[in-house]
């Protein structure tokens, strides 16, 4: 029971500013872990859905049927499904106007898909910058708390006649807790930031590829329609 009380006492006896720094770091750490868990879930879900949808798409299913299914599912309008849905909807809307050529049709669909892709990327990257900030700043914040605490304990030493290491050691020890907390908050944040940004980048490449391929398919179809109309 003695050791527990020691550490807890150190935290409680620290200066007001050092305590504030510790509280800030604790808050940052909890928030960053929250973001980590959320992002992990979102990215995992997006990846599994993309895989499933691509399988579905390339298995040769009827596109109109697929579109009906996707459009009917309100929750499913994100990721690849969202891109597919917006592209296909724009394509069918433009096809109603008979005058447009194949290129114009495809370009319009591609534009719609690009917008959806951008929105999707924004959603995936949301709050990743928070992790980066925590990862880079919290060691400095912790260090600041430590420096402040050490300053205080040395100032206390100035008035003493018999200076011993035992007089400053507890102060320095309590100040160092702030640095430890800063590192504790920063390390997982940096690791998670690197991992997630890599994952998001891979997803973006995947979406982009799908967008181009789907545009190709739409272009072929538009050409076929045009030829049939001309004949």
């Amino acid at each position: 029971m003695n050791g527990e009380l020691q550490v807890w006492d150190l935290i409680m006896e620290a200066g007001l500013l050092v305590q504030g720094v510790m509280a800030l770091l604790l808050l940052a750490s909890i928030t960053s872990w929250m973001v980590i868990f959320q992002k992990r879930q979102i990215l995992a879900r997006a990846e599994s859905r993309a895989r499933k949808f691509e399988e579905n798409f390339w298995s040769g299913a009827d596109l109109t049927k697929l579109y009906d299914k996707v459009a009917g599912d309100r929750a499913g309008r994100e990721g690849l499904e969202g891109i597919f849905e917006s592209g296909f909807r724009e394509f069918s809307r433009l096809r109603e106007e008979k005058r447009l050529g194949a290129d114009a049709l495809t370009t319009g669909a591609q534009r719609a898909m690009r917008v959806t892709l951008t929105r999707e990327m924004d959603r995936l990257e949301h709050r990743l910058s928070f992790l980066a900030t925590v990862g880079s700043v919290s060691p400095y914040v912790g260090l600041f708390g430590t420096v402040w605490g050490i300053m205080n304990s040395f100032r206390g030493l100035a008035g003493a006649h018999q200076a011993t290491i035992a007089m400053v050691a507890p102060g320095i020890s309590e100040a160092l807790i702030a640095t430890a907390m800063g590192l504790f908050a920063a390390i997982p944040a940096v690791i998670a930031f690197n991992k997630f940004s890599n994952q998001v980048e891979r997803l973006e490449v995947r979406y982009d590829n799908f967008k181009e391929e789907f545009a190709n398919i739409l272009h072929r179809q538009a050409r076929r329609l045009e030829e049939r109309g001309a004949a």
Partner: protein, 324 residues
């Protein structure tokens, strides 16, 4: 009501967020437990060392009593011993005193005899030493007088020597001075002669150089004049070539009357390419003719350049004439 306002997606999002918060708190709790476990065995920082307990038991009275008894015993023994010792001492002193008296008598007689002998010996000794001392003193005096004499002689010789050497030295210095003065004189004369020679030679050279320069200047002036003449002819040729080119490229409008004379300003770049052509006054032609002239210049495209590099100018003004 609330359920309808919050869409299922939002509900899902809130649920996810709460789940994430719970997981984050769980992670921190886990780390806190690890942290506490890690610091369990820390020693407290201000551990006090237990005081050493000392019990003082007072043994004084017992020891004191025992010591007094021992002291009384020892004192009694010492007194008996002392009495015995004093008795012995007295007997020994008596015997000693008698023996001493006998010895004293013998020693005094002996002493008297030896004193007389010693006295005689000492008187003899004294006399001999006196004689010896006297003899030594006389010898010493003689020796000192001799030395004094020698020293004075030496001194006199030294002074004489010194004087002679100083004399010689002064003589030599004088000689040296004279020689130096003569040498300096000789050198000065030599130097003067040399300087005079140099000045003479330099004057001659100067005169020659001036003559050469004069000749050179004349030659350059002549060359310059020739160059100017050549340039003037080249310029004339250049201008007439340009005039000829313009005339050849000129399409005469029907309104033009003979007697036209117009100044044309042409801007060109190195290489002869024409950038701009304008009519400047004086010009007595009508508008159509003016336009035709600038058109003719622009049609040429480039003036001749090779061979005319010396008279080339960025801006050329020449007079265009048509006399029917």
């Amino acid at each position: 009501m609330m359920n309808r306002l919050i869409s299922p997606e939002q509900k899902q999002a809130i649920k996810d967020q709460l789940r994430a918060l719970g997981l984050a708190l769980a992670v921190h709790a886990g780390f806190a437990v690890l942290f506490l476990a890690g610091t369990w065995s820390w020693q407290p920082f201000e551990q006090e060392t237990p005081p050493v307990r000392v019990t003082l038991v007072d043994m004084g009275p017992v020891v004191e009593q025992r010591r007094e008894e021992e002291a009384a015993e020892r004192r009694r023994e010492e007194r008996a011993e002392q009495e015995r010792q004093e008795e012995l001492e007295r007997q020994r002193e008596e015997a000693e005193r008698r023996r001493q008296e006998q010895l004293e008598q013998q020693r005094q007689e002996e002493e008297q005899r030896r004193q007389q002998e010693l006295e005689q010996q000492r008187q003899e000794e004294e006399r001999r030493r006196q004689e010896e001392v006297e003899r030594q003193r006389r010898e010493e005096e003689q020796r000192r007088a001799e030395e004094e004499r020698q020293r004075r002689e030496e001194e006199r010789r030294r002074v004489e020597e010194e004087r002679r050497r100083a004399e010689a030295e002064r003589e030599r210095e004088l000689e040296e001075l004279r020689r130096q003065r003569e040498e300096a004189q000789r050198r000065r004369e030599e130097e003067e002669r040399r300087l005079a020679e140099i000045a003479e030679r330099r004057a001659a050279e100067e005169a020659e150089r001036q003559a050469q320069e004069e000749a050179e200047r004349l030659r350059l002036a002549e060359e310059q004049a020739a160059e100017d003449a050549r340039r003037a002819t080249l310029r004339e040729e250049y201008e007439s070539t340009i005039r000829e080119l313009v005339r050849r490229n000129w399409n005469r409008p029907p309104t033009t009357r003979p007697g036209v004379s117009c100044d044309v300003r042409v801007v060109q770049i190195p290489g002869g390419e024409i950038i701009d052509a304008t009519i400047v006054s004086p010009c007595n032609a009508d508008d159509a003719t003016r336009r035709s002239i600038t058109a003719a210049v622009m049609r040429i495209g480039a003036f001749p350049y090779r061979g005319y590099e010396n008279v080339f100018a960025r801006e050329i003004v020449f007079t265009f004439r048509y006399d029917g």
